[in-house]
């Protein structure tokens, strides 16, 4: 047992180290290449173009990558746990659809021009919260927690939202269309420092709160009823965790757009490598999601430099390939359990 804990601790430390390394690597990569050796002197000097690039552009981007990647992946791990369904991801419940619809509506009405660009994350957040509210009201109705019903409602809301959005896109101008498409594909480019900080603090708070429920989540692997025989208040646990996961997802989507695949694939990868114990899964997923997004962002920024690819394209392609490789390597060794 002690050996197992030790192995897991090493694993966690290893990802943490990778996160740090990839962050440093990401600092040096970009249109203006800054060599690794120069980074510390530049930051010490506190002036010049390169200092500005590092502190105003690249560091906030790395922070946002860690916060968004961590949150989405953590939410995926939590939701896959409470729904006991390996295909659930943060966007399954329609949160991204709601946020996207909110943003599309704002762009079509031209509010981002009249009021200012900061209305976009606000509209996204309102859209996300509306979806969460609908799913929770319908799902938690009459004191029940009918998880399958919630899942179906989320999927349906997602469909309704995406159809409404397509309707908006089909009647709007080419310019608005371009804006909506780019927002949907996601980007870590966020000029508003406050939003970056909010996302970071929210992601850390989400990790801390969900970690308190790591052992109840472990018990929920046996099912809601069996967990309650082990003294877990299944309904309360599921509700709190559902709210944590959806709030985190809502914040991420509003700030960074719909960055797909992180919340589905990273928890699976971590589970395949480290097993399904949530005490390690939660932290592992958080760090793994951050790592994955930092690296995806480096690729998105550099591959067609000086232009930038939407990060969603990279996460989808890289995530899918990575997952197939790891799956074929680990599946035979460790049975895959949720």
């Amino acid at each position: 047992m002690i050996k197992k804990h030790l192995r897991w601790s090493w694993f966690t430390l290893a990802i943490l180290l990778l996160v740090v390394l990839s962050a440093v690597f990401s600092l040096s990569m970009g249109e203006a290449s800054i060599s690794l050796r120069d980074i510390i002197p530049i930051i010490r000097a506190k002036e010049g173009m390169e200092y500005f690039i590092l502190t105003q552009i690249r560091i906030p981007r790395i922070i946002l990558a860690i916060a968004v990647g961590g949150s989405l992946s953590l939410s995926g791990a939590i939701l896959q746990g409470i729904f006991r369904n390996p295909l659930v991801e943060p966007y399954t419940l329609g949160i991204s659809g709601g946020a996207a619809l909110g943003v599309a509506l704002t762009i079509v009405m031209g509010l981002h021009v009249t009021i200012g660009a900061y209305i976009l994350p606000v509209a996204g957040f309102i859209g996300a919260m509306t979806t969460i509210l609908l799913v929770s009201i319908l799902g938690f109705l009459r004191g029940g927690t009918d998880l399958n019903k919630m899942l179906l409602i989320g999927v349906m809301i997602s469909f309704v939202a995406s159809s409404s959005m397509m309707f908006l896109m089909s009647v709007t101008t080419a310019e608005s269309l371009h804006g909506i498409v780019f927002w949907i594909m996601g980007s870590l480019d966020e000029p508003n420092k406050m939003l970056v900080h909010i996302t970071l603090y929210a992601s850390i708070a989400g990790l801390a709160i969900s970690y308190l429920f790591a052992r109840p989540l472990n018990a929920l692997r046996l099912g809601e009823i069996k967990a309650s025989y082990l003294g877990i208040n299944s309904k309360t646990t599921i509700r709190i965790l559902f709210l944590v996961a959806s709030l985190l997802t809502g914040i991420c989507v509003s700030v960074a757009g719909v960055i797909g695949f992180v919340g589905l694939v990273i928890p699976h990868l971590i589970r395949l490598i480290a097993g399904s114990d949530y005490r390690y899964m939660l932290i592992g997923s958080f760090l793994g999601g951050g790592l994955f997004l930092i690296l995806s962002d480096v690729i998105a920024r550099t591959i067609i430099s000086p232009n930038e690819l939407p990060i969603g394209i990279i996460t989808g392609m890289a995530g899918g390939l990575l997952f197939i490789i790891v799956l074929s390597k680990f599946r035979s060794r460790r049975e895959h359990g949720v």
Partner: protein, 280 residues
Amino acid sequence: MVSDYLIIEKLRCGYGNVFNLQAVSITLNKGAFAGIIGPNGSGKTTLFKGISGSLPVKSGAISLNNTNLNNLKPVEKARKVAVVTQYPDAAGIAVEDYVLMGRLPYRETFQFFETQKDHDIAEKYMRLTGIIDHKDKLMTQLSGGEQQLAAIAQALSQEPELLLLDEPTSHLDITHQVQILNLLQHLNQEMNLTVLMIIHDLNLAAEYCDYLIMMDKGSIFTKGTPHEVLNYQNIEQVYKTVVVTQNNPLSGKPAIFLVSDNIMKNQKKHHDAPPPTFDL
């Protein structure tokens, strides 16, 4: 022996208007080894869910050692009552981790890892149930019987006063049926653990339980010792099946024999035939 240790008083619970128990009352002594029997749809599982708490109680009370179980928080209840379900649904969890989950009712809010005591207790019951050699395997790698033993080890790690089991042997071969029931009997006698289980097999019920509750149509048909409950009249009335009962030559407990259609016809012919006449 403390009498009236588990008292179930006029318990009613069920599924809306579809199926409801009709005010079931049961009392058990501490250290009882009791079985709930009855045909499919008689309310065994509903009663079980009512006692274990997975169905809300509509009226009535369940008290264990003078504590009303309905008023307890889940954590407090899990320290007194452990439940073993029919199928331990445990995916890819290592056996040791699975058994250790039995210590969950004893954790503190900010306690993320099991204490040494938790490990010692889990190990003790893995030894007792004979699955200690499998502790690093995954639950899915065990046979059905071994999984059931792991589920019992987990339940014992809760250090309960009452052990509830839902048909623990229904899908097992006779080796594992007897192994598990012998283990339960041993626990019942050595640790004075009160055991209440649903059991389908009437012969196993007769052999192992010292008290039987026979359910029919949502209420208790009769209850008592195996000899009082398992006579052919009761069985034929509740199960609508013709049986013959005799005593096990070794244990003296009732044993139930089924009668096939062919034998029934032969018996009838034999019965209806005119008495042989002997003309001398």
